[in-house]
Symmetry: C2
Subunit: 483 residues, 2 copies
């Protein structure tokens, strides 16, 4: 990175908040997916909105691409830097700015850790609902960028359902406010676009979150089935009955045994599929729903039913589920976490298709997922040391996505598109659909500086029409260059 | 309207679906607010998506502004035509295209009447939740444009919470799909922008709606209070207790007496304020919550409490509330329905401020509103025959909006901005905020053809920066003209 730029960045954030040494930059090369690595030109660690604005204004003036990131736990390569670009690390923007218990609102900086929001309001009877599995380390800013989900999104919704407003530094460096404390806002509601835009529309520097009331009672049903078909049918029947559990998680036989081996969760090891159904709400309602869920599971052939009424018992039921990833790590030197969505009613079909694809590829696949949302998370096991196996795993993971699309689903449930899935976007959208998105991007970031190369498959110069490449009038006139 | 254009429109939709006679055009001059009147150049009544596309493509080619509308029940002038422009009436696009009871989804054309959605699914245990007071006549397309609310939005949310996807004809005539049946979509989620964009981003031609389960039990509490302060405090206390009623409606003394005079609802006529609290859900839960709500109302000084357990009793409780507008019509030759939002906790303050403004202006104001949402609907009574009174009423209605903004609220809860409130937008947003919205508009509608002159205060030519007028480079080069 140019010394003059580094000097300007140091003038903005101070000497020690600008990193240029190779060993410091290495930390920021990749994300939780760990499949893509790029070394940034410089890392800058702002503490205030004004510093972020100044950094972005500098990048805008000098046409330097920038990527903002939090803890880097993402699983789609969304926070991977641009070579020679600026990496804006937001970990130091970790202050809680305001708490309004009466109206159930909290204002935080983007570097605040997800779980710290609930910790901050402990004792008020409120909590922050979206709970990605990485919630002990991931940041609210990253959650906003990826519209993160979690096991309890079935009932509580995704990050977008809990963000009331943001302050956003646009790629031009201008600061805008989207949404806010009031429920309804006139004009265009751009908040829902920015949540899940994966950092391509600017840098979120302040987030107003909705807090919800802690449920009075929580209980959990564990049910073992002979097949994933039976478990899938039980899931559909529970929802059809009008019950909305806080979470419905499913594990297949391979996942049951692997996690039980790893953490001795006491799961029924001979089951073909396991459902964990968590119910919360008023005590009288929860007690009634537990009975209903148990009856539905029995009617769908559940061979074993257990009910957790205390927090300790629930923690034991969750133990194996939460240990799924480390359990795979014990069994295989490498694994790939895929993330796709299908309509709930298509779960049995898609699970059978995944099994067939796994057999064809000769690679093991474990299924541990948010069944209530139809959000599958196949874990594709492979050995990077075996020549060709990484490629076969990537190919298999891609085939699974195509199966999700064929079933009327989506290529991502909660991990985002990032670098990893951008090639699949045209499988879900028409040229006109993608062009409409590109128009918005170009309207706010004409030079494509904010997290460039992510989400969209073939970066087009702004104003360029879909179809075969034609030189852009602005390029021909020497007024712009293809970035 | 040019004969050639009329001929082309007839070729698209057929001879009888193009209206040009003055008496036919008159029907389309205004909307439910009835404060703005413009005669369109021509009215065209398409039946299919392809016809809408062809009409919009023609408008785009010829640079003719167009306005799409449904039943025209809006209360902000949003569907008022452009002089000499094309008015696209969508009433004939009233088919239900698909119903998927298992997944709780229905696909409709925009001209379907709101209540017809619930009628179509009667017997399935499902219904369509958003219920604007005009739901017997207003269309889903209009609801999408205005992001309509209703009495039950407190629990169920606004239209935006119930639209899973739309097909949109862009101002260019291109057809795009936003959202869809799957909960999560990659890329930019533009659906939330289009819902509530008041027709400025194109014409919605197909809508996928979410259906929700009919509650098993419904009960209602009516509570009379001495003052709106007491009633307002009870509202906050109910929510703080963790109870989420389906609706909380409030009426002040003037509204109680006026509606009781009109429809003999049997309301306590000496009350200073009346609360109607509707609770729905599982029977056991509703019974419990009714007791809790009654206890809270008593604790806040309720002088009279009645509980409606049957549908007939509930209908009687609702009767006066639903007759509020005709009741004002009996008392005054003219009235203005204002629509603002304040944080729930600010209700008492804002209601006192409205009373003071009413006294200052010497104009009667009745308050009948969605108290749970903080969505006030002051009805400003005036006599258009008295010189200057219409202007004073408009001024008073505007002062009320400023009071809502000052209390941290919004200039519209559910009626939209349209023509009526666009001058107030800069009171809520910075130049950078409005410029960001304008960039999106310009990206999708550079010639400002789709419902021009609505929502945004001072139409700018696309690319123009905020601030004093400067000629635009494209205009100077003769490549564009200020529309």
């Amino acid at each position: 990175m140019d010394h003059r730029i580094v000097g300007e960045l140091r003038a903005i954030v101070g000497m020690h908040a600008v990193l240029t040494a190779a060993e410091s930059l290495r930390t920021y090369e990749t994300d939780g997916l760990n499949a893509y690595r790029t070394r940034p030109g410089v890392v800058v660690l702002p503490e205030t909105t004004e510093q972020v604005q100044a950094i972005v204004q500098l990048c805008h003036r000098e046409r330097i691409p920038f990527v903002a990131r939090g803890s880097g736990t993402g699983l789609s390569g969304g926070a991977v830097p641009v070579a020679d670009g600026v990496l804006i690390g937001l970990a130091r923007m970790n202050r809680i700015l305001d708490l309004d218990v009466a109206n159930g609102r909290i204002v935080v900086q983007p570097g605040v850790i997800n779980l710290d929001v609930s910790r901050r309001v402990a004792g008020t009877g409120l909590f922050y609902a979206p709970d990605p599995s990485s919630q002990q380390v991931c940041t609210i800013g990253g959650n906003v960028a990826e519209n993160s989900g979690g096991a309890h999104c079935l009932k509580y919704g995704f990050t977008v359902n809990h963000v009331l407003g943001v302050k956003l530094v646009l790629p031009s460096g201008d600061l805008v406010t989207l949404g806010g404390a009031t429920l309804q806002h006139p004009g265009y509601d751009l908040l829902g676009v920015v949540v899940g835009a994966e950092g391509t529309l600017g840098v979120v520097v302040e987030v107003t979150l909705r807090l919800v009331r802690l449920p009075e009672a929580i209980q959990m049903v564990m049910a073992a089935f002979a097949t994933t078909d039976d478990a899938g049918a039980a899931v559909s029947a529970i929802i059809a009955e009008g019950i909305l559990p806080a979470a419905i998680e499913m594990m297949d036989h391979f996942a049951i045994v692997a996690t039980d081996d790893a953490v001795h969760a006491g799961y029924p090891r001979d089951a073909g599929a396991l459902l964990l159904v968590e119910l919360d709400g008023a005590p009288i309602e929860v007690a009634h729903e537990v009975e209903e869920v148990a009856a539905i599971c029995r009617a769908h052939g559940a061979s074993e039913l257990r009910i957790a009424a205390t927090a300790e018992e629930r923690a034991r039921f969750w133990k194996g589920r939460k240990a799924a990833l480390p359990a795979m790590g014990r069994l295989s030197p490498g694994y790939y976490v895929q993330d796709g969505v299908v309509p709930r009613s298509a779960l049995p079909t898609v699970l059978r298709r995944i099994a067939a694809l796994s057999a064809e590829a000769g690679l093991r696949v474990a299924n541990v997922f948010h069944a209530g949302d139809g959000n599958v998370h196949p874990l594709v096991l492979f050995d990077p040391a075996v020549p060709g196996e990484t490629e076969r795993a990537t190919e298999l993971a891609g085939q699974i996505l195509l199966a999700c699309i064929a079933a009327g689903g989506s290529i991502t449930g909660e991990h985002g598109v990032g670098l990893d899935k951008k090639a699949y976007l045209p499988k879900m959208f028409t040229d006109a659909d993608l062009d409409t998105m590109a128009r918005l991007r170009c309207a706010l970031d004409p030079a494509s500086l904010s997290n460039p190369g992510k989400v969209f498959p073939t970066p087009r110069l702004c104003g360029e029409r879909p179809g075969p490449y034609r030189p852009h009038p602005l390029v021909e006139a020497g007024l712009a260059e293809l970035f």
